[in-house]
């Protein structure tokens, strides 16, 4: 395997580990903020101790999320140096804003939340708990603005003098911020975090019911957790629908891969699993129109006409025009000081073909097809598990509300088993989003083979195994400490 593959594996591994910890942070932040609010409003110590217990688990998880996050941020530079230069002008700004607006909020108020119970007023402490969660959510917003831009690069223009994508105007920043892909991704990611938090809280609380310990605490936590999870699931479905529309519009190959759709058309069927299809459903999901045209993999490779009657060229033609753009760029750079007229001619060719420049780096048209099997099954795992988890929370929330849960042993065990499932669900979602857009780091502009750093395979392999060992160790420790904390239980009365 070459340095490109190892760099991709390393980044994927880091991102996958990071996403093990972030959703629980987002979800638990909301759960414990709600609980502490109940404590402040009702002046009931029970809610304080309940909130403090989930805070303890939050803190264990939060630390590893931070550790994996810093590696992720700096890997853009260490392993994707060309990418950093090519997109730094667009991508760096959301990242810097994330640092200024979100990270400091999280860092400052996490310390107050965790240590400040006896040092600050009740209201300031409550505000700190909310601000820790809001900080985490703002952080998610900005990183997803950056990620959304990679999937749908709006508001940018290629500057041949600096050889990078640049912000087209000051107003273009608002295009980047309000990028529909970024907005739907933000809501999808953050509310999937609520689902994770909800499923986690419900699952752990069911364990206490199974053990017949801290039952008041467990039932109260199941109620709060299931409400957060149900609201999260509803929002995940709505934002997921928007994501499907956006994929059809901006990344049709991702949608075709997720559906395993070789040849598209109107009234396209949605495949539940191979062999079971719902006629017309894919057209409805992708275009909100039964007669909407959905291109398949072969259509995208060979060229097609989209729903707005735009003729989309074949990949081979895009590659040809991309190579013209690359040659023109090289010529422009070589001649711009010595032969201005020839340089201007090269610039004109470049401008005409620049939107396909990324395709000029591909070896063959099939390079634009992501691993279909991986994306197809990840998509089904995500949707199937998401539905199952919604059902789980509806049932458990209802039974907890009616106080008929304690004797349903199998249901309590099932809820506990749902904890790993919510992680598989979240990871599958990211596999669809990120594997589905291969080979592009920036859709249509920069393929992975051009985005890398100049490193040896040995160097990247070494850091891959180093990070893998560190993150795995941290995960093992986190799980062990969490189990210890769960066994010890909250400081509420054992009733």
């Amino acid at each position: 395997m070459d340095v490109i593959v190892w760099s991709r594996i390393q980044f994927a591994m880091t991102a996958a580990y990071h996403w093990l910890f972030v959703p629980l942070t987002l979800g638990l932040a909301l759960v414990m903020a709600v609980m502490e609010t109940l404590y402040v409003i009702r002046k009931d110590e029970f809610w304080k101790k309940t909130a403090q217990y989930w805070m303890k688990l939050f803190a264990i998880n939060f630390a590893v999320g931070i550790a994996t996050g810093i590696i992720l941020e700096f890997e853009f530079g260490t392993n994707w140096s060309n990418y950093s230069w090519f997109v730094g002008d667009m991508f760096g700004a959301p990242l810097a804003i994330e640092g200024i607006l979100a990270f400091f909020m999280e860092a400052t108020f996490f310390a107050v939340m965790f240590f400040g119970w006896e040092r600050v007023s009740k209201r300031f402490h409550l505000a700190s708990t909310w601000l820790t969660g809001i900080g985490a959510s703002i952080s998610a917003f900005w990183i997803l603005v950056a990620n959304g831009w990679m999937q749908n690069p709006v508001g940018t223009t290629f500057n041949p003098d600096t050889v990078r994508s640049e912000m087209a105007s000051a107003q273009a920043f608002w295009e980047v911020v309000s990028n529909p892909v970024a907005i739907s991704k933000f809501f999808h990611a953050i509310t999937s975090g609520w689902v994770t938090g909800g499923v986690f809280v419900v699952g752990i609380s069911c364990w206490y019911l199974l053990k017949k310990r801290q039952q008041k605490f467990a039932k109260a936590s199941i109620l709060v957790g299931s409400i957060v999870g149900i609201i999260g699931s509803g929002a995940v479905m709505l934002s997921g629908d928007a994501s499907g529309i956006h994929a059809a519009e901006f990344q049709p190959m991702k949608l075709a891969a997720a559906e395993g759709l070789q040849d598209g058309g109107r009234r396209a069927a949605f495949t539940i699993v191979p062999g079971i299809k719902i006629p017309g459903m894919l057209s409805i999901l992708a275009t909100h129109d039964l007669d909407g045209y959905v291109p398949g993999i072969n259509d995208i490779l060979n060229g097609y006409t989209d729903n707005e009657c735009n003729v989309i060229p074949s990949v081979a033609e895009k590659m040809q025009r991309g190579r013209m753009a690359l040659d023109a760029l090289a010529q422009y750079r070589a001649l711009k000081d010595s032969e201005p007229e020839a340089a201007a001619a090269a610039r004109a060719i470049l401008d005409e073909n620049v939107q396909y420049m990324g395709y000029g780096h591909l070896e063959k048209p099939e390079d634009v097809v992501p691993p279909v099997g991986v994306v197809f099954w990840a998509f089904r795992f995500m949707i199937g598990l998401g539905m199952l988890l919604l059902l789980e929370m509806l049932v458990l929330g209802w039974l907890a509300w009616k106080d008929r849960l304690s004797d349903k042993k199998w249901l309590l065990i099932a809820a506990l088993c749902c904890i790993p499932l919510v992680y598989i669900c979240g990871q599958s979602g990211w596999v669809v989003a990120e594997v589905g857009r291969q080979p592009w780091t920036i859709q249509g502009l920069l393929p992975v083979n051009v985005a890398i750093s100049s490193l040896s395979v040995g160097a990247v392999k070494t850091t891959f195994f180093l990070f893998l060992a560190i993150f795995t160790l941290f995960l093992a420790i986190e799980i062990r400490i969490m189990i210890g904390a769960i066994r010890k239980g909250p400081e509420t009365e054992n009733e």
Binding site: Y83, S84, W85, A93, I97, F110, T162, I477
Partner: protein
């Protein structure tokens, strides 16, 4: 706002973030004292719980420092991080271990024992300031890289910034001048850490040990820093003219100080404040030495960044190919990006204000042995 103003403004902010980062590395410096055998386990936990309430600010400042470099000077981000790979990976790994060590070290289920996590904190306390200082030292010594933007048109070898040797940044540890800055930072953070603990922990033995530590670290700090400064003022520097052509200039950095008197005043004020804090910590009964020393540190670091980048200077020079050197002009983001971020940066005083308020609220009471043995919320 002109493009030049925005570029300079962002270099100013990078310098400010760099200064704040070095100041906040009192966390790393304080953690070096976890190896002090004259302190009991309880006293070490007081130190841990003191730095444990601030480490995230240091960490966040580091991340924001990186993010701000990415956003405002992306060519530095891509060239240095992709090139000086091993140095940055080492720095990051020490911070990664630090991030979990506070939370994990006192838990009995932590698999590898409390002592291991304390060692991680000490390794971070030693390596992070040393390596960051040494890397910043290469802003004056130069590094072995080339930049060729046309490379991106060649699919077979598309990388724009390439490093010239397999050490990927570790070679800086062999550059005497850069190492002197690394050691200066190491001893300075140890002093700042002791000053911070002096101010934040209420325990006679701990405070006595901190004052002793300040005295012990003062001499090597002054020797390394003055040695680094002397070489800096006498060495050739990397000058850049109006057309962007980089050349070597004798006494460039001395000229920078003399041609930018405001920077010289900033630098000298910072040095005096650091010395004042050092004196207060080592020789007076004052517990507030962290404040003059901290403010002084920010001022000195800012002045160092100004000397590295302003007044027609290449701040990240290439000793392999002078014209590949990075300057504020050739490595920055576009005007529009810098302009958007300028407006966002106006929120920084608000961020600083709430940090200061929360800090004040949390530090009104000092950390005492009773807090470690009494409250449930502790590391």
């Amino acid at each position: 706002m002109s493009y030049t103003f925005l570029q300079n403004y962002w270099w100013f902010l990078i310098a400010l973030l760099g200064g704040l980062l070095v100041f906040l590395m009192f966390v790393q410096g304080a953690n070096l004292h976890l190896g002090n055998r004259k302190l009991s386990d309880l006293q070490k936990r007081m130190i841990l719980n003191s730095t444990g309430r601030k480490w995230e600010l240091t960490f966040t400042t580091l991340v924001t420092f990186g993010g701000a470099f990415f956003a405002s000077f992306p060519l530095f981000y891509s060239t240095s991080f992709g090139g000086a790979y091993w140095v940055w990976v080492l720095i990051l790994v020490t911070f990664v271990f630090q991030a979990v060590s506070y939370e994990f070290q006192n838990k009995k289920e932590n698999l590898i024992g409390s002592q291991a996590f304390r060692v991680f904190l000490m390794v971070n306390g030693f390596l992070a300031p040393f390596l960051i200082g040494t890397t910043v030292g290469t802003f004056f010594t130069g590094s072995d890289f080339t930049v060729n933007k046309v490379a991106i048109t060649d699919s077979a070898a598309p990388v724009i910034s390439t490093w010239g040797n397999g050490w990927h940044g570790l070679e800086a540890v062999g550059q005497f001048h850069a190492v002197l800055l690394g050691l200066s930072l190491l001893f300075l953070t140890a002093i700042l850490g002791a000053l911070y603990i002096l101010n934040n922990v209420e325990d006679a033995t701990v405070c006595g040990q901190m004052r002793r530590s300040i005295k012990l670290n003062a001499l090597p700090f002054l020797a390394c820093f003055l040695g680094w400064l002397a070489i800096l003022l006498l060495r050739e520097g990397y000058a850049v003219d109006g057309a962007g052509v980089v050349s070597l200039e004798r006494y460039k950095y001395l000229h920078n100080f003399l041609q930018m008197p405001a920077v010289l005043v900033l630098f000298l004020t910072g040095v005096v404040l650091v010395l004042l804090g050092l004196y207060q910590g080592a020789f007076s009964k004052s517990l507030k030495g962290i404040w003059p020393a901290g403010i002084g540190t920010v001022l000195v670091v800012m002045a160092v960044f100004f000397v590295a980048g302003f007044n027609g200077t290449a701040y990240y020079p290439s000793c392999t190919d002078l014209q590949s050197s990075l300057t504020i002009r050739n490595s920055s983001s576009s005007r529009f990006t810098l302009q958007v971020m300028f407006w966002v940066s106006l929120l920084i005083p608000f961020v600083v204000a709430y940090i200061a308020y929360a800090w004040h609220q949390m530090d009104r009471k000092k950390i005492t042995p009773g807090e470690i043995t009494g409250t449930p919320h502790k590391y």
